[in-house]
Amino acid sequence: MYCVINYYRGDGGLRGGGRRGPAKQETKVLEARDVRKNFGDVHAVDGLSFTARPGEIFGLIGPNGAGKSTTIRMAMNIIAPDSGEILIRGRRLAEEDKAIVGYLPEERGLYRKSKVGDMLLYFAALKGCRAAQARESMDAWLERFGILDWKGRKIDELSKGMAQKVQFIAAVIHSPRLVLFDEPFAGLDPLSQDILLKAMLELRSEGVTLLFSTHIMEHAEKVCERILLVDRGREILSGSLAEVKASYGRNAVQIEYDGDAAFVEELPFVESVTRYPRWLEAQLRPGCDADELFRALAGRVKVRRFEVVAPSLHKIFTSLVGVPEEADHE
């Protein structure tokens, strides 16, 4: 199903790509060291350092304009940092390393007049994938996304969702060992988002390292093992998702309900509330007990679910950087 690419590494070893586990001696697939990038007076990236380990999903999260895409472009060597460096497997991305890296840029498109199959095979060939293997990999991915019948159709004829699936396939058709996804779910319907999330989790289970940027915290929460939260080019917090959430304690309550729960925001022991159409998440003040909230709700709304949880990533995010200008929930 997948294509195998052999590539030469500076340490003298010849490694196979394809679906293999991460090499034992590797501890840093991607490493950023004090990276800075300015565009005129704007500090797009301001001293970021992070490491993505083999076989993990690393989330680069932050609001729009935080510097995520600039960081990924620098990792792909499309633009150069003003100072610092981003290393992939120990060195700046060289031409010969491009075969083991997949990239789904934020600014992405397809050749509209090309046929789906021809275009995917062209991209696979550019990554050094042999034709027969590329064909096998392409068919498997197209079938998985339910668009195999569209292989001979022109890109022009695809819906937006289909086109994004084809773009996703173009990024992974050559069985890379590291894939950088820049806002992979932008503009996708929830069903398509789930399909791509599942595909990403499967890639990870096969030992592929994934770095993905998003401003949608729910997505990061679903798949990331470790995260770097950035805002205005700077690191806000980083670490494993579990550690980050644990450090904020379990003093949040998620409530599913029927009725009008606007009064919860006015309760003295509630610090903040994030409301969704049929549920809400309330952050309690330090030292306050969830029982008080449960008692306050009784009789005023019909409670369907009441759960004490660690604060969501979205909650942590908004408490650290404020409410972003654009809606976070897509």
Binding site: E95, P105, E107, L126
Partner: protein
């Protein structure tokens, strides 16, 4: 496969695997035929005035007979018209192509009036003028008691047969035929070169814009270097262009060897295998030079319209040899011709004209070609630098000076 070749293959298929390419490839030889063979065929087999009727007002029978006899080879008909009004209405209705008004004692007149339907059929008018002049001269000689035949013999000077040593026209009618042969060949070659270089240049510029507008560029750069991408984008259509030229040259050679003799058409003496070689030899560097520049401009352009604006200065150099074609033909070794045959943006066409008309010294040819090749290399390197920066720039219509500054960025 090498990444440059992969991109080139993709671009080649995008260029050649479509109907427009096939049509242009097929029309090319027709253009050569139209510009080289057709005038010769028309000149020998057809007459523009064939079937045209000349009305003559105020002519006696001998004059009418003399005019009819003189215009018979041109297959024109001579008719008598009663008066000027009849002649005018005949012209208006399309019955007459022209009407010659002869006053009394017209042989002594300094000017005569010829009414004409279009005013543009000068070959026909000149023929009538020549007949009227001969008749007038004969009448004046006879009135003066001189034998008209003696006058004709005295006034008949020798015609010129212009011969270029080593290029004697085989079986041709002389200087005019040779001049027309060179003119038609030069015109055909120059037009082909101009059209293909311009079309391919624009095609490459637009293909670079497409990479930006379709937002595939970042994806491409994650697989290939900007230099490989640029090289592939230039090489692919270049191969398509070479195939096109190979087809045209093959057709031309077939025309020289088979078609011309079979149709008994005398092809221009300048349409030779050697000159076809020079056409291809100059097309290749011209293509790479202009394509590199167009690719750089495409990288800096926002859309097709912007590209057209940015490429205007380039178009001036490409059109200059066309505008000055007559000058280069008549003065191929003048200082301006020599300078233009060394200046790389004009040299492919101007040096080709010089080679066709009056082969320059070998060192001039070698120097011109060396400058051209060096310029191709320089233009490609400059284009690679501009392309690297420009391909990622969107959202603003930049000036040419700003785009050229990208070449100096590290």
């Amino acid at each position: 496969m090498n990444k440059t070749l992969l991109v080139a293959k993709h671009e080649f298929l995008a260029t050649a695997a479509n109907r427009a390419f096939v049509i242009i490839t097929l029309i090319g030889p027709l253009l050569i035929l139209a510009l080289t063979v057709l005038p010769s065929v028309l000149a020998t087999r057809g007459q523009t005035s064939a079937g045209s009727t000349l009305a003559v007002v105020g002519a006696d029978e001998p004059t009418l007979a003399a005019l009819a006899a003189a215009l018979a080879p041109a297959k024109a008909i001579v008719a008598s018209a009663a008066d000027e009004g009849t002649a005018r209405s005949g012209i208006a209705s399309g019955r007459y192509a022209a009407a010659l008004l002869l006053p009394g004692l017209w042989t002594e007149a300094r000017t005569l009036t010829l009414l004409a339907k279009t005013g543009t059929d000068y070959a026909f008018y000149s023929r009538i003028e020549a007949v009227a002049a001969a008749l007038s001269r004969d009448a004046r000689a006879a009135a003066s008691g001189i034998d008209p035949a003696l006058v004709r013999r005295l006034l008949a000077g020798p015609g010129f047969d212009v011969v270029v040593p080593g290029k004697e026209a085989k079986g041709s009618g002389g200087g005019l035929d040779q001049y027309l042969g060179i003119l038609f060949t030069v015109l055909a070659f120059v037009m082909l070169m101009y059209m293909t270089v311009l079309l391919y240049g624009q095609l490459i510029g637009r293909s670079v814009i497409l990479e930006k507008s379709s937002k595939t560029v970042e994806f491409m750069l994650s697989s290939v270097s900007s230099r490989d991408l640029l090289a592939g984008k230039i090489l692919g259509p270049g191969l398509a262009g070479l195939i096109q030229y190979a087809f045209w040259v093959a057709i031309a050679l077939a025309g020289i060897g088979v078609l011309g003799p079979a149709l008994h058409v005398s092809l221009p003496s300048t349409l030779t295998a050697g000159n076809l070689f020079w056409l291809v030899a100059f097309f290749v560097p011209a293509y790479f030079l202009y394509s590199s520049i167009y690719a750089a401009l495409g990288a800096g352009a926002e859309d097709d319209q912007h590209l057209t604006q940015l490429a205007l200065p380039l178009l001036v150099f490409l059109m200059l040899p066309l505008v000055l074609l007559n000058f280069f033909l008549s003065s191929p070794n003048s200082a301006i011709s020599v300078i233009c045959s060394f200046f790389p943006l004009t040299s492919p066409i101007v040096m080709l004209i010089r080679v066709l008309v009056s082969p320059p010294a070998w060192w001039q040819l070698a120097l011109s070609y060396a400058i051209l090749l060096a310029s191709v290399w320089g233009a490609y390197r400059l284009a690679a630098k501009v392309f690297r920066v420009g391909i990622l720039m969107t959202g603003k219509r930049r000036r040419l000076s700003e785009i050229l500054r990208w070449a100096s960025l590290k």
